[in-house]
């Protein structure tokens, strides 16, 4: 503790490890919940909690240790088959895991630990043990129950709860020393548990001439007398697991004073024949005991497994740099190929063949680098399963979350920014999507509702779907609400899709009463804005009586943008493709002037303000005539629309996004830049900024039905 910095670093890495352990815990619990788990599963679950406890102990995180310890005790009971983990128990385990992750987070942020909730869960956990007869925490007493009973045998003069005794053989491997461990520390830790009798076996120590300084010659035999469980002893050796030969054996308990132990065990045995009438009591004690030794063994087995899939933690900045460099490489390669092509080289020349190879390699490198940033959506989905649990409990519905494709990889930033909208959608699905239990039963559906969360790659994009098996969108009601709120005209005739899309209008809420969960004024419009900000799209499909599916389509990475390349006043510019609704040409029939200087274009009965992009950007003055001009109809995240006049549409392509240094000057209407194949920089437009900046922006462009139809 003298140097706070290394400690802080270790502490930070402990919390990173906690994240992984919590993930493993969730995985294990899920496997247990759908019965796909095997014996190893509960071990994994147990170990996860145990390791968190161990680490937390090292950092003096009392609250975390306390909770983890009792949680672990219950899990241990499951592991040793004294407790059957039924559905309710697993639900409780999930809640405990959620609470544990809260505790970890609060501990990390030095926040206030939610004691009350923890205590409630602990009470339930303890009750679980109580219900199932043998409380694991009483194991210690039970184990030595024979002793209590042996009072009958006239041994009443012994101290009643005699401490347990263990023989520990500890033989360090050279690796133990190499990793900086110190047997003395371990022995001291053992001594803290109870009274120790330590024998050092020095028979392996060679003559000085043969002595290898790095070899490990010493072995220890410890006879420990302490009122502890074997697991506690094992945990002392946790850090040297696999680095030493270790056996821990309990010594039968009906032996007298610890000091005589080394001589006495055998002479004591003749008394054993008295015990047969006691066979029933030892039985439960015997059961946990054999279950204990496998634990270190399983651990030893798991360690090489996790070592096989080695993981490197890399600073995100370094990856950023690599991504940037590869972006440059791609641009450079495009420039090179452009200049080679224009130099009139034969397409079969060596240079051109080499270039082709170079292009393929560049593409591969780009894909691989993007993959470094990619992460499986699993962590996100696990967070969602918690949302489902909490939220189904709040509205008292029985809901199961089914996830699919949680190994699908998406850019890290996308995952981070997807959390909020997805949470909202999941809550919506549970609260509004699924009908109340009695309605489900009446409709002949199983009582348990299912919310399905899937992720998949489809043609260069990531598709994430949230679906429920609820009643589907009540289109009558949706239309009624929209009419009442003045969002649509009362006599508007809308298709089903149009009605579904009304949900995305700002200020829309289908729940007639506001519940705890949703209806906090954050509507689907916010979700859609968040998705669009990520360059994504969101669509709804709904079948009455069968359910609703929200489908999000996202780009694989934020470093690349699908853009429409246009020409404006001699400059090449890029518009994000997901905001372009349609393109049209101006003619006499659709151009109108509302007042001098402000034109509108009529698109299927709607008027949309018309701006000359070149003028808005200050590149040129207004033209005399806009007849036959090319117009892009765009909508920003908020649903505002505008028609932009451009000179020419050149291409649709993916462009690498380059940030603009805005320290001197922030250009209005410009979001970023990209580098074209000829090495020139093209600016990427920020349409919402343009719409807001545009001269005609005093005219509110009310969201209306037109944008919903497209």
């Amino acid at each position: 503790m003298s140097a706070p910095d290394p400690m802080a670093e270790i502490r930070a890495s402990f919390f990173i490890e906690c994240e992984e352990l919590l993930e493993a815990l969730q995985d294990g619990l899920e496997a247990m919940a759908d019965d796909s788990g095997d014996l190893e599963t509960i071990n994994v679950v147990f170990r996860a909690v145990h390791s968190i406890k161990g680490g937390a102990g090292a950092f003096g995180l009392e609250g975390l240790v306390r909770f983890a310890h009792r949680y672990e005790t219950v899990l241990d009971a499951v592991r040793s088959n004294t407790l059957v983990a039924d559905g309710d128990a697993i639900k409780l385990f999930f809640r405990a895991a959620d609470h544990l992750s809260d505790l970890v987070r609060e501990s990390r942020d030095d926040g206030i630990l939610p004691e009350a909730e923890g205590n409630a869960i602990l009470t339930e956990l303890d009750a679980l043990l109580g219900d199932h007869g043998v409380a694991e925490e009483d194991e210690a007493e039970i184990e030595f129950q024979p002793l209590g009973l042996s009072l009958d045998l006239g041994l009443a003069d012994l101290p009643a709860p005699a401490p347990a005794r263990f023989t520990i053989h500890f033989a360090p491997e050279p690796e133990l020393y190499e990793t900086g461990n110190e047997p003395y520390m371990i022995l001291r830790a053992l001594a803290e548990l109870g009274s120790c009798e330590v024998t050092c076996l020095t028979d392996k120590v060679p003559q000085l001439t043969e002595f290898a300084p790095e070899a490990s010659y010493l072995k220890w035999t410890v006879v420990l007398t302490a009122d502890v469980q074997e697991a506690e002893i094992v945990s002392i050796f946790e850090f040297v697991d696999g680095l030493c030969a270790l056996t821990i054996a309990p010594i039968p308990s009906d032996v007298p004073a610890p000091q005589d132990v080394s001589n006495d065990p055998l002479p004591e045995l003749p008394e054993m024949p008295d015990l047969p009438d006691l066979t029933p009591p030892p039985a439960p004690a015997a059961e946990p005991e054999p279950a204990q030794p496998p634990a270190p063994a399983a651990k030893a087995k798991a360690t090489p497994q996790s070592a096989a899939k080695s993981v490197v933690r890399v600073d995100l900045d370094r990856i950023e740099r690599l991504v940037n460099l590869v972006g440059e490489l791609v641009i450079n390669q495009a420039m090179l190929s452009q200049s080679l092509e224009s130099s009139g080289l034969s397409p079969h020349s060596d240079a051109m063949n080499g270039l082709e190879e170079f292009q393929r390699l560049t593409r591969d490198i780009q894909d691989s680098v993007m993959m470094i940033r990619a992460q499986p959506v699993k962590s996100l989905f696990q967070r969602m399963s918690r949302i489902v649990r909490e939220c189904s409990a709040a509205v008292r519905k029985d809901v199961r979350l089914v996830t699919e494709g949680d190994t699908t990889e998406v850019d890290k930033t996308v995952i981070e920014r997807l959390s909020d909208p997805l949470t909202h959608m999941i809550r919506n699905a549970v609260d509004h999507g699924l009908e109340p239990t009695q309605n489900r039963l009446a409709a002949g559906k199983p009582e348990q509702g299912v919310v399905k969360l899937t992720a998949a790659h489809r043609s260069g994009r990531v598709i994430i779907e949230v679906s429920d098996d609820g009643g589907g969108i009540n289109r009558e009601k949706v239309k009624q609400i929209a009419t009442d709120k003045g969002l649509i005209a009362a006599d508007a005739s809308l298709t089903d899709t149009e009605i579904d899309n009304l949900l995305f209008l700002p200020g829309f809420s289908t729940a007639s009463e506001v519940s705890d969960l949703s209806g906090r004024g954050v509507g689907m419009d916010v979700v859609r804005n968040a998705i669009q900000a990520l360059g994504g799209r969101i669509t709804i499909t709904s079948t009455p009586g069968e359910g609703t599916t929200f489908s999000i389509s996202l780009p694989l990475t934020l470093a690349v943008l699908d853009g429409m390349v246009v020409q404006v006043a001699g400059e090449t510019m890029v518009l994000p493709l997901n905001l372009v609704i349609e393109t049209l040409t101006i003619d006499h029939s659709n151009l109108e002037q509302t007042r001098p200087g402000l034109n509108v274009v009529r698109v299927r009965g709607e008027f949309v303000s018309l701006f000359d992009l070149g003028v808005e950007l200050g590149y040129r003055s207004a033209q005399d005539s806009y007849l036959d001009a090319v117009v892009l109809l765009i909508a920003d995240e908020g649903g505002s629309r505008a028609a932009l006049i451009v000179d020419e549409i050149q291409d649709q392509r993916q462009v690498v996004i380059k940030g603009l240094d805005e320290s001197f000057y922030r250009a209005p209407g410009i979001a970023a830049a990209t580098i074209l194949g000829d090495g020139q920089i093209a600016l990427i437009l920020d349409p919402s900024d343009i719409i807001a900046q545009a001269q005609g922006s005093t005219l509110a462009i009310a969201p209306n039905l037109m944008e919903l139809t497209s």
């Binding site: 001197f664 000057y665 209005p668 410009i670 580098i675 090495g679 920089i681 093209a682």
Partner: protein, 152 residues
């Protein structure tokens, strides 16, 4: 930058702007590039020429003459962009032509009389004489605005 009172050696990159000679501490110069077409930024101040592609980085370029308030003039092929780095910001400065690299000691630099600062206070850090020609030493921190200081 160097303390003018000491006699530490200073190397300056000298260049011309509208027949006047200016210079910059060579330590802040990253590279010198030939003139390439810039992509203009909308509604930018006139001295902001736009951005260019510097090996994959988007580099803002400003016309140093206009930035200092000198009259605008035609660009020729001899125009070059001096890429400078001030703190963490890279900027391109468009100048008429690069002349020379001169080595001086700080003792050769004189603080400018107040009235001599053409582009406002502090832009000219020092003056020096080279073959009877006056060379203005620019204070880069006054030219390259730090974040927020000059947001138009």
């Amino acid at each position: 930058m160097t303390d003018p009172k000491s006699s530490a050696p200073v190397e300056l990159l000298t260049f011309r702007l509208s027949d006047q000679e200016y210079s910059l501490d060579i330590m802040c110069v990253r590279e010198i590039r030939g003139w390439t077409r810039t992509t203009p930024l909308p509604h930018a101040p006139s001295y902001m020429k736009g951005v260019i592609n510097l090996r994959g980085t988007v580099l803002p370029v400003m016309d140093l003459a206009e930035r200092l308030g000198l009259p605008p003039r035609e660009h020729t092929d001899r125009n070059v962009i001096i890429v400078v780095k001030y703190e963490e910001t890279m900027t391109g400065l468009l100048v008429d032509a690069v002349s020379d690299i001169i080595a001086l000691t700080s003792a050769d630099l004189q603080p400018p009389p107040d009235a001599a600062s053409a582009g406002g206070p502090g832009v000219i850090k020092a003056l020096t004489l080279l073959d009877e020609r006056m060379i203005r030493v620019l204070e880069l921190s006054e030219i390259v605005p730090t974040p927020q200081s000059d947001a138009a």
